[in-house]
Symmetry: C2
Subunit: 360 residues, 2 copies
DNA sequence: ACGCTCCATGTGACCGTTCACATCGCGAGA
DNA sequence: TCTCGCGATGTGAACGGTCACATGGAGCGT
C-alpha cells in the first residue's frame, strides 16, 4: 500500500499578499470577521449574516456587494462562533472498529464525502479493542466534540449499552440488518447476501458447508450467520455450527487449518473476504486444491478478491452507496426532512473461480 | 471485510435522570455551563475555568469541590466557545487519498489515536481523484474547519501547489522521504526499504528486475523508485525504466500481463503489496509459477500478504508508529516543545516465499 | 509595625456569529 | 390621505468560554 515513509515538518510560509493601495480594512492579526466585511461593504453585520444564511429578503444588489467584499477579504465564516450561538456543531460522529479494513474504510470515506456535500463535518473515533472502556472512550471523545448524529461501525451490542450509560442522546444510524424499527430501516439485508452465497454453494451440489462467521457482537456478522442458517434450513441441508472469527485473514488461516484436520466438508462460506483468503491459504498448505477439493466463498468483494488464487467468488456490497444513504437518513432526520433513501441496496453475487462441484 | 448492511435510524432516547432532591441548579434546556458549575460550587466562573485549565494557584480543596460539581452536573466544556475565544481549534487535518487502502487507513487511525491522546481532534478530507479541483476542495474543507496542522497522505506535489494558492499557512507534516529540511525530518527512508527489497532480489541472483512504481506525484512512490534505482546502480545491475502504476491490484494485473508478453525479466519489485498481488495473478494466468519462474517482492506488509499464494516477501512499515511520530512532530511544533521523535523507524524485510533464484 | 510579594480568587470585557426585536420606506386598501 | 403590512435593513444582547486586570489576605524581610 501507499505508505508514508519519512516525516517532514514545514513551518508555515505565511504568504504576505502585498496590497499596493492602502485599503480601508485594518490588517489585524485575526482573520476578517463578519463586521469587517460589513464595514467595507457599507452594511450592518446582520446583513452580512443574512447573506451567509441565504435569507430571502435581501436586495440582490446588496447581496452581490457583500459577496464581492467577502471574496476580496478572503472571508471564511468562523465555525466555532456559529456553533457556539446555534449550539449546533454540524458534525457527525463515526464510531468505528477495524477501520483499516476495506469495508469500514470505504464506508467512512463515503460518509465523509456525503456529509461534506451536505455541509456537515465528520469526526471519527477508532476503537482498537472492543472492550467497554475503549468504547466509552471513543464515545466520550465524540460527545465532547458535540456531535449531532452518530454512525456506528463496530460491535453494536456493546456500543448501545455504553451509549445509554453515557446518556448520549443523539440520533444514530447503525449499519445493521435486523428489521426492527422499520420506520427507519433501509432493508438491504446482509441476510439476503448471505443467503445468495449459501444458495450458490448448495446449487453447486454442496451439502457439507461450514460458515466462518464474524465476531458475534457485530450485527453484520450476526446477520450473515442468520442468512446462512436460514438458507441451509430452507433447502433442508444439515447445518453445522458456525465458527466465530475476528474478520482477519490470520484467523481464517488457523480456523481453516483446524477444520482440515477433520475434513468433513466440501465448502466454506467465510463472512468476509479476508477470512476467505486465510482459509484458502490453509487449504493450499494442506496440499489441496481450490475449488477441486474445497470450495470457498467470501463476502464484500474487496478490490483484491479478483486477484486471489483462485479469484474469489464473493458477494459484493456497495459501501459507497451505503455510506451515502446512511448520511442521507441521518441528515433527513436531523434536518427534519423526509429521508428519501428507504429503498433497498441489493447485494450482488460475484461468481469467480473459487467454487466448484463437491469432490465427494 | 466487516461490512455494514442495512441502515436503521434510532431516535434519541433521552434518558431522564430523575433527581430526587430539588437541587439548586435550574434544569435549563442547554447543557450546564461554566457558570452553572460556579454557582453550585459557590465560586466564580473564572475559578472553574482555572480548574479546567489546570491553573497552579488554586486551593486543592476548592479544586475538588469544583470537580465534584462538574461530575454531578455532567458538565462538558464547550469546544466551540473555547475555540472561539482562543482562536485555536485543536484540530489536525488530514488530506488523504486512497484512504481505503491499508497504509493510509492505518496511518489515519494512528494519527487519530495519537491526536486524541494529546487532546487534539482530527478531521479527514478524502480526495477521490487527485486533480487540482478535488485537492482544492479538500483543503478548503479543512481550512473552513480551522485546522492548526495538516498531514498529507496524498500526491504531494499537487497538494503543495494548491496549499500555496489557497494561502493556507498552517504547519504541515508530510509523510515523505526526501531529506531536505533536515531540521524537521524523520529520516526513515522509504529509500532504505526499497533498497533492501532490491538488494534481496539481487542477492538471490536476479539481474533482470522490473520495478512497478506508484503514481509519480506521490513522494512515497518516488522514494521507492529512487531506492530501487540507487541499489541497482550501486550493485552495477543494468536498470530498466520503472512502470508507473496507481497502487491497485488491478493495475498490477494488467501491467504484469503486459510485461509477460515479452518476458525479459526474472523478478518484479512492486511498490506496494496490492500491485504485487495483481502481478502474481498475471504470472499464474500465464501458466508460470512463483517463485520458480518469476520472483516477486512487495512493499508494506499488509495483513493479507502472509496469506497470498505464495506468501509474499515484502517490506514492513510500521504505520502506527509513523502516525504517532507524525502527530508528535506536529504537536511538538504546534505547542512549541522540542519534538523528540527525530529518530529513525527502520523498515524491515519480511522474507516469505515469493522470491527465489532466477530460472534463467 | 510597615510595605512588598505572591497566592487565591473575583470582575468585566471580548471572541464572531445568530437571534429577537426595532426601524424605516413604500405601495395598497379604506 | 391615513394607516396597515411587509420587505429591507439595523441594533443590541446573547452563546460559553478565556484573558487582562483588580482585590484582599497571608507571609516575610527589615
Amino acid at each position: 500500500m501507499v505508505s508514508p515513509a519519512c516525516v517532514t515538518v514545514n513551518m508555515p510560509r505565511s504568504i504576505e499578499v502585498a496590497v499596493p493601495e492602502p485599503s480601508q480594512e485594518p490588517p489585524k492579526g485575526r482573520a476578517p470577521s463578519i463586521r469587517d466585511v460589513a464595514r467595507v461593504a457599507g452594511v450592518s453585520h446582520q446583513t452580512v449574516s443574512r447573506v451567509l444564511n441565504h435569507h430571502p429578503s435581501i436586495r440582490p444588489e446588496t447581496k452581490q456587494r457583500v459577496l464581492d467584499v467577502m471574496a476580496e477579504l478572503q472571508y471564511t465564516p468562523n465555525r466555532a462562533a456559529r456553533a457556539l450561538v446555534t449550539s449546533r456543531s454540524r458534525t457527525i460522529g463515526i464510531l468505528s472498529a477495524s477501520s483499516t479494513h476495506y469495508g469500514p474504510a470505504s464506508s467512512i470515506a463515503a460518509i465523509e464525502a456525503a456529509a461534506r456535500a451536505s455541509g456537515y463535518w465528520v469526526s471519527t473515533a477508532n476503537i482498537e479493542s472492543s472492550d467497554a472502556v475503549s468504547i466509552a472512550d471513543g464515545l466520550a471523545y465524540l460527545r465532547a466534540q458535540g456531535i449531532e448524529g452518530l454512525v456506528v461501525i463496530a460491535p453494536q451490542v456493546r456500543v448501545f449499552d455504553t451509549l445509554a450509560q453515557l446518556s448520549i442522546d443523539v440520533p444514530y444510524v447503525t449499519l445493521q440488518s435486523t428489521g426492527r424499527d422499520p420506520e427507519h430501516t433501509l432493508s438491504v439485508d446482509q441476510i439476503a447476501g448471505a443467503r445468495m452465497a449459501t444458495r450458490h454453494l448448495i446449487e453447486r451440489g454442496h451439502r457439507s458447508i461450514y460458515h466462518l462467521a464474524g465476531p458475534q457482537d457485530w450485527i453484520e456478522a450476526e446477520a450473515r450467520m442468520r442468512g446462512f442458517l436460514d438458507e441451509m434450513g430452507a433447502q433442508d441441508v444439515p447445518t453445522t455450527a458456525p465458527i466465530l472469527g475476528d474478520w482477519t485473514a490470520d484467523f481464517g488461516f488457523y480456523a481453516g487449518r483446524e477444520l482440515l484436520t477433520v475434513r468433513d466438508f466440501t465448502a466454506i462460506f467465510a463472512s468476509n473476504d479476508q477470512m476467505a483468503l486465510g482459509v484458502m491459504h490453509a487449504v493450499r498448505d494442506a496440499g489441496l486444491e481450490i475449488p477441486r477439493d474445497v470450495s470457498i466463498i467470501g463476502f464484500d468483494d474487496i478490490p483484491e478478491a479478483a486477484h486471489f488464487w483462485p479469484p474469489l467468488t464473493t458477494v459484493r456490497q456497495d459501501f459507497a452507496e451505503l455510506g451515502r444513504r446512511c448520511v442521507a437518513l441521518l441528515l433527513g432526520d436531523l434536518d427534519d426532512a423526509a429521508p428519501e433513501y428507504r429503498g433497498t441496496i441489493v447485494p450482488e453475487l460475484i461468481v469467480r473461480d473459487s467454487v466448484g462441484a463437491p469432490s465427494f
